[in-house]
């Protein structure tokens, strides 16, 4: 067991090192430079010396390997520097965005997973019947919808036509709300992007759950359970669903790791202050420090989620532990 554990730790450390290195390399391999955002819009009218000064101030004139070593040192110390475009410390920027991202993606993930599990179980249980076919059709349809389109339709109907929900932002930035009013406002702002995100992610869980149910229902122990004369709900929930949840747990844990990365398209449509849109803009601006910091955060959360999956799996399914 210690060998297994030690090996895992080494494996994670290696993955972490490789991604930290890639986080440095990939942004710099893109064509283009951060100069326009470092110097300002009228960079073209600047003299060559002024441009050189801007580049050297940002440390971008030093040899790449030297920059890499500095970067590694800073990562170890937990320093990520200043964003080229926002001129603020990377930590501050990410911590500003992270709660909103998690609020949106976390809420949507919980809802879409629960919904997917329940409906997937029912559909699998009633395979080939009308409920199953209807659910299947709906979810395959949802799966095929582009997120930005769903978002725009929701804005047009519930925001513009019915006036029920605000169309942009995570909260009313100007109303100076406090207490309950503040949270009601945050909740209202969450509704439309949340529904959109659920709509485009729920199908994955539903289809996984349904498929998993189908394979479980063919197992001997289900036949045994039925032969014992157990009531149908007992067979369904005690024996079938619990076993069918395993693949769904995998999907869920992978999504948990990804939740930190946000949902770029939906954040764009609803102007939600999430990490996804932030990273997209950092790419366009070639904002190296922000890209490095942001991708490191995402990497860490994906690794953490994987580690969690590694630890939880033996508990969920003792069969995966190798017996010596």
């Amino acid at each position: 067991m210690t060998g297994f554990f030690g090996g895992k730790v080494a494996q994670y450390a290696l993955v972490l090192f490789v991604t930290i290195t890639l986080n440095f390399l990939l942004p710099r391999l893109m064509p283009g430079s951060p100069l326009a955002y470092l110097a300002g819009e009228d960079v073209g009218a600047m003299s060559a010396q002024d441009r050189a000064r801007v580049i050297s101030d940002a440390g971008l004139d030093r040899p790449p390997f030297e920059q890499y070593l500095t970067y590694l040192g800073n990562v170890v110390r937990g320093e990520f520097g200043y964003s080229f475009q926002q001129k603020k410390p990377i930590g501050t920027i990410l911590l500003d965005r992270l709660p909103w991202t998690l609020l949106l993606t976390g809420t949507a993930l919980l809802i879409s997973t629960s919904l997917g599990i329940v409906l997937g179980a029912i559909a699998g249980w009633r395979r080939g019947r009308r409920t199953d076919l209807a659910a299947l059709a709906v979810f395959i349809f949802l799966e095929s919808l582009p997120g930005f389109w769903v978002g725009m339709i929701l804005v047009a109907v519930f925001g513009v036509q019915l006036g029920l929900f605000p169309t942009f932002g995570a909260r009313d930035a100007f109303a100076r709300l406090t207490g309950v009013d503040y949270w009601v406002d945050v909740g209202k702002h969450l509704v439309l992007p949340g529904i959109t995100l659920v709509a485009i992610t729920v199908s994955a869980t539903f289809l996984t759950m349904r498929y998993s149910m189908l394979s479980v229902l063919g197992e001997d122990y289900v036949t045994v359970a039925r032969a014992k004369g157990l009531a149908e709900p007992q067979v369904l929930f005690r024996h079938a669903v619990r076993n069918a949840l395993l693949p769904v747990a995998t999907v869920f844990l992978l999504n948990v790791g990804q939740a930190v990365a946000g949902a770029t398209v939906i954040e764009t449509v609803f102007s939600y202050p999430g990490v996804g849109r932030l990273m997209y803009e950092a790419v366009l601006a070639r904002d190296y420090p922000l890209l490095q910091g942001g991708f490191l955060m995402i990497t860490l959360s994906v690794l953490a989620a994987n580690m969690l999956a590694d630890l939880v799996y033996p508990l969920l399914d003792p069969r995966v532990v190798k017996r010596d």
């Binding site: 064509p31 110097a39 819009e41 009218a45 001129k87 725009m152 102007s271 366009l284």
Partner: protein
């Protein structure tokens, strides 16, 4: 397997949720950065009339220099009694955050630069026709475009109540000369000496006559307070908050999702008509337009796409339209054969139907550009320089150049098929559409082109590496364009065609013509407006013959707003409505 007690699991989940919600909670009410200053009774009682007394009656400025003396500040007097703003609050959607609105942090020229100008003032201010008018200055006088005598308006105050004097102006200009700013450091470096004579007078001597100085420097560089900026080095410029300006609005709050500006009741032209300006950042144009429909915002700073002009013109929505000065052109790389041949460039210019581009892509909402670069509405434009479209002549020129059609109809020149790649920017859908139409037009004359779409930063890397025209360029043809302020100073046409890289900073095609350089130098130094106009016409005619780039069109600008919320918008020619002028009633109209 020892199952965790259910309560523990629920507890952990609840804890995580609480942490998340705590992070989303409103920030603890910090002490307001700029407490809305209660107007002191003595000051509030004072009418803004002093400005009127300072307007010099004697027109000491020679008409030739084109700098008007301050108009009698009647508007100030009329605006002064308005103790309460007519509109309490206005929300304007912007597309991206603009930093802290300190002069070093804005991102976009429009609306970022204009938002910044609500907080800061410059000595002069461009009016609706882009003519510089005295603002902080009461008058600006020059006889030779080299020595500028400036008298300030008396009694101007910073937002914290301290007086703004000629010393602040001197400090500001010297600061910007030393601490590089991409926009106005170069123009200000024309200065040789600045001498002050009391708090209200200063004299600026330039190193050489420079008629562009008022537009490029005096009406551009915002005056910043010495108390905040003294000894701030370049690397720290971005950290200085924009707390104390002198403009019609005070910055109360700047985050990456929203800005809050509050009217400066003591502004020397009178309190502005809108009490509070709120700028939420809405990334997606469609969302911003929907928010305008719902009334969540009352104006959108971004241009309305041509196809949306009609639907957004129904009351209470309104659209303000006007000419745009941002150009769209097809750039040649003259270092790459066959674009080194003038006939080839001329043929491509002749083969492109600019009118059709305007009609198809802009639905008619645009101006066909003329080959001399200068906007056709500019008073300096030579009307004899006209856009051309003549397919037969284009074919004839290509025949003369020895480009013979091959079996597939594609011409072959010097053994090479005339097949080229046009770069276009993914952020600019209209340019991509234009490039696609151009493919068809060039095919007519036997030239094959394909469009390659990259993000803007990647296109810059190939066309204008590190924004340095001396660096190698790696492209054949590129869709390109220059922003609106370029057209405001007529002498800037030279920036895009001069072969000296310190002058032709935007000569991205490596065009070189000694005759053009000679006229260009004269354009830049010409003091007399009539002579300058004549020289610019000459320069335009050279460009029209040499075709270093194919000028395509200027897209009209259209901005949507809710007229029931505020209808005092002023369209600044070529630029738009989110400008300082929209909030200075009676100034610059």
């Amino acid at each position: 397997m020892t199952p965790q007690p259910r309560s523990a699991r629920v507890g952990a989940l609840a804890l995580a949720t609480m942490l998340l919600l705590a992070a989303c909670a409103p920030a603890a009410p910090s002490a307001p950065t700029a407490a809305p200053a209660a107007p002191k009774p003595t000051e509030a009682a004072k009418p803004a009339a002093p400005a009127a007394t300072t307007a010099p009656a004697a027109p000491t400025v020679p008409a030739a220099t084109g700098i008007p003396a301050a108009k009698p500040a009647a508007p100030a007097a009329t605006a002064a009694p308005a103790a309460k703003p007519s509109v309490r609050s206005l929300r304007i959607a912007i597309a991206t955050d603009e930093g802290t609105l300190n002069p070093y942090t804005y991102k976009t020229g429009y609306p970022g630069w204009n938002m910044l100008n609500l907080v800061w003032d410059s000595l002069m201010q461009l009016d609706a026709q882009n003519v510089p008018q005295p603002l902080l200055a009461a008058s600006v006088k020059t006889t030779d475009a080299m020595t500028y005598d400036i008298t300030m308006r008396p009694g101007i105050k910073w937002h914290d109540g301290k007086p703004l004097t000629s010393e602040d102006v001197k400090f500001t200009y010297e600061y910007f000369i030393k601490i590089t700013h991409s926009r106005f450091s170069s123009p200000l470096r024309a200065i040789d000496t600045i001498t002050t004579d009391g708090p209200e007078r200063l004299t600026i001597k330039l190193k050489a006559p420079n008629p562009s100085f008022p537009v490029r420097a005096l009406a551009d560089a915002p005056i910043i307070p010495r108390q905040e900026w003294d000894n701030v080095p370049l690397e720290r410029t971005k950290e200085i908050p924009a707390k104390i300006g002198s403009g019609p609005y005070k910055l109360i709050e700047a985050t990456d999702t929203a800005y809050r500006l509050e009217a400066n009741p003591d502004y020397f032209l009178g309190a502005p008509p809108v009490g509070e300006l709120l700028f939420p950042v809405i990334k997606d144009l469609n969302t911003a337009l929907q928010a305008l429909r719902t009334g969540e915002v009352q104006a959108v700073a971004r241009e309305l796409p041509p196809e949306q002009v009609q639907p957004f013109s129904q009351a209470p929505l309104k659209v303000s339209k006007g000419p745009g000065f941002a150009s769209t052109l097809l750039q040649f790389n003259l270092e790459r054969a066959p674009f080194d041949k003038t006939e080839v460039r001329q043929a491509i210019d002749l083969a492109i139907d600019k009118k059709k581009l305007v009609d198809t892509i802009l639905l008619g909402n645009g101006t066909v550009a003329t080959p001399g670069f200068v906007h056709p509405d500019s008073p300096n434009h030579d009307p004899s320089v006209q856009a051309r479209f003549d397919v037969a002549k284009a074919k004839q020129l290509l025949d003369q150049a020895g480009a013979v059609p091959g079996p597939d109809g594609i011409r072959v020149l010097n053994g090479k098929p005339m097949a080229f790649t046009v770069l276009a920017q993914s952020e600019q859908p209209l340019r991509i559409r234009a490039a696609e139409l151009i493919i068809g037009m060039l095919k007519e004359v036997g030239i094959q082109t394909t469009v390659k779409v990259l993000d803007n930063n990647a296109v810059i890397d190939l066309v204008w590496k590190d924004f340095d025209v001396t660096k190698p360029r790696d492209y054949e043809l590129a869709m390109f364009g220059w922003s609106a302020p370029v057209q405001v100073d007529p002498a800037r046409v030279v920036d895009f065609a001069h072969s000296d890289p310190t002058i032709g900073t935007g000569n991205i095609g490596a065009y070189k013509n000694p005759e053009a350089d000679k006229i260009g130098d004269q354009v830049r130094a010409a003091v007399d407006p009539a002579q300058r106009k004549q020289l610019i016409g000459q320069y335009e005619r050279i460009l029209a013959t040499d075709v270093p780039f194919v000028m395509l069109y200027f897209q009209d600008l259209a901005y949507a707003y809710r007229a029931d919320a505020y209808d005092g918008w002023l369209f600044q020619k070529g630029q738009g409505i989110i400008t300082k002028l929209s909030f200075l009633p009676g100034f610059g109209r």
